[in-house]
């Protein structure tokens, strides 16, 4: 039994969730609080990763970051490869999970009373400080719900990862890909063990993350 997929999935899902938080929370805040041209369009577009079939989405992503794509060629010149590395699995998981965090966080920000923010401003707080000490803490419950959903989606991603990272044993074969591979080979015992491992891992990680989230605010 090969344990590499377990370690890889832990690494990919945690990294992708960090990336999703770094990009998704500011975007959700902008969508909830700022007026800018194309806001409604962007607001609708951010859910598109949930709409497209994952393998098709993975193919589009591959066209962009693969060796023939604009981003892929640029990075190739810098000596960095994205497609078919574990980084591609992170991008795949990020893309699949970010709509869940954005929508939850957006709802959270929408629910924060702007008068509280204004009160903080009248007391001399900068915008940055208002965000960190008023808006974010008040929206935090919704955001944690979004993080949990995003993490689970990132952990379980199959289709996008399969296309853009490949299912290369020992390199990009994450837990969901390994489980599928065992099922295809009719190795049900291994598939069952890995499925159990996946569920136990996510449950343990969520309990851990839940503790951390409560510590924070």
């Amino acid at each position: 039994m090969d344990f590499f997929p377990i370690a890889l999935s832990a690494r990919v899902s945690v990294t992708a969730t960090a990336l999703t938080m770094l990009t998704g929370i500011p975007l959700a805040w902008a969508l909830a609080r700022r007026q800018f041209p194309g806001r409604r369009l962007l607001d609708a577009l951010v859910v598109s990763p949930l709409v497209l079939p994952p393998t098709v989405l993975g193919y589009y992503l591959l066209v962009v970051i693969g060796s023939r794509g604009p981003v892929g060629r640029l990075l190739d010149g810098l000596g960095v490869s994205l497609a078919f590395t574990w980084r591609a699995a992170v991008i795949a998981a990020w893309l699949g999970s970010i709509p869940l965090l954005i929508k939850a966080a957006q709802a959270g920000f929408d629910g924060v009373d702007v008068r509280l923010e204004q009160a903080a401003r009248t007391l001399g707080r900068t915008e940055w400080s208002v965000f960190w000490s008023v808006t974010l803490p008040l929206a935090w419950r919704s955001i944690t719900a979004g993080i949990v959903l995003a993490f689970c989606r990132a952990f379980g991603d199959f289709g996008i990862t399969l296309m853009v990272a490949g299912s290369i044993p020992g390199r990009t074969q994450t837990l969901p890909l390994a489980i599928y591979d065992h099922v295809q080979a009719n190795e049900m015992a291994q598939a069952n063990v890995l499925s159990l491992v996946a569920v136990v891992m996510v449950v343990l990680l969520l309990i851990g993350v839940g503790r951390l989230a409560r510590l924070r605010y």
Binding site: T15, L22, T55, A83, T85, G166, I168, D181, Q184
Partner: protein
Amino acid sequence: MTRRLSIVIGLLAWLSVPAGAQVTEVAVFGASDLALAFKEIVPKFERALSVKVTLVLGSTGMLAKQIEHGAPADVFFAADQTFIEDLAGKGVVIPETRALYAQGRLVLATARSAGPKLTDLRQLSEPRIRHVAVANPAHAPYGRAAEQALRAVGVWDELRPKLVYGENIRHALQFMESGAAEAGLIALSLANVPAIDYVTVDRALHAPLNQSVAVVRRSRRPELGLAFIQFVNGAEGRVVMKRFGFLLPGEF
């Protein structure tokens, strides 16, 4: 501010750390129908040349797309030679390394749980057969062959409501192994499993399933990819391929 910057820098640094083994000496990408045969050939090759092989199996169409976009394959065994021709035309594989390595055989399989085995394609119309598993004819070579054979004996239209399509040929087999389909048309190379009985389908009923291979141009070790092709087409490889029911170059 510096703390946030350091989070971003830390994340980028973390992303630059490789995961898993970096030195895979030969990456072999192959069609799903090779799953069982290559499971035997790969260790023999590894021993003979003292190299490590990473085997990636999938549907030929998907693997071809991935290789076109830079997947780290050294050599690509397609289930249908048209994919290799297409990749050669695009400059993705080295045309001089193209070689036929097998001709696939189609079998009529019956799940053991569904009763006595079928011996003729027309028997698929029997009421005890409620689902017939085939690979998707739109893109899978064995699926296309299955459609041609069923059309040739004139039962395609009648069977259509019973057909269930697998993503690839291993998936079609799995429909029978799980008991979801009572019969199916699958690859002979995968048919030696406990759950099914089978008879081969007359080769004259479908276009030949000629399978070809080539070394990928981006490969950093083209000589090893070529060595693997020669191994499969050499004495040791041929014995295994034959045992799994492939017809070999020179035999068709």
